[in-house]
Symmetry: C2
Subunit: 147 residues, 2 copies
């Protein structure tokens, strides 16, 4: 993701929306996209230093936090994350090769595997979670134009 460093002026937006209140709402939304873009970049860089990505991290999170179960099917993960199945398939394959996930056949559905975290994945999750929250804590700082 990337986004405009400098947002349009209120006057410019008002030229399209007509109404000043609407123009402010639009600028709020653009500001949010800019902040999300910067935050996401910080997050991705943090995960990259641990050999991960936000995507891989979130896959581990949704499996880990599932109550009463320690595994999920691909489609269940996809539903919890709003990500497409092909993307998830590819990532699960990579994470399995990296010993972060392991699968066993689903006894109730011959099409599916039950995907669970390896011990290494659980360790890694515990290790990186505090730094993740620290980055999110810094997210309400004012956005600066760095040039």
């Amino acid at each position: 993701m990337f986004f405009l460093k400098t947002l349009p002026s209120l006057d410019m937006v008002r030229g399209y929306t007509g109404d000043a209140g609407a123009a402010e709402t639009v600028l709020d939304a653009l500001g949010m996209l800019r902040r999300a873009s910067l935050l996401l970049r910080d997050i991705e860089q943090y995960f990259a230093r641990h050999g991960l990505s936000q995507q891989k991290f979130l896959i581990m999170v949704v499996i880990d936090r599932e109550p009463d179960r320690n595994s999920l099917r691909l489609s269940e993960i996809a539903n919890r994350l709003d990500v497409s199945k092909p993307v998830l398939h590819r990532t699960i394959k990579a994470m399995t090769a990296a010993d972060l996930l392991m699968s066993k056949p689903d006894p109730k559905d011959g099409r599916s595997d039950l995907i669970q975290l390896t011990p290494q994945a659980k360790d890694l999750l515990t290790q990186i979670m505090p730094g993740y929250f620290e980055i999110l804590l810094g997210a309400d700082r004012p956005v600066q134009d760095t040039g």
Copy 2:
């Protein structure tokens, strides 16, 4: 971009941050990432219906709104958008092939071209801008499934 459909509970986050105020800040940041993810998806779908992407749209915007000039160099566009030069290079090439951009050599720097909008691009920009603001206006409404 994609993100968790269901955010962690306040209690779960408090388990990591210790302090309740910090936990709320973290949840605000996660909520923002979720809203930005959904909004961005709407925006990309809108642009796709016009044969564009957010990236291509923003390139047109920064050239169009430049005061006193009608062209920018690649690196100037990259600076205004916070996007990497290889990405921009590839996109400018595609947009030039699609008759949205045209280039002429920069008389002041033999390494650069001056990139400007074609008349078609200006027309397209005028045509799609209102719908873009309409989507941004809806960004503060509760999330709904539009199919």
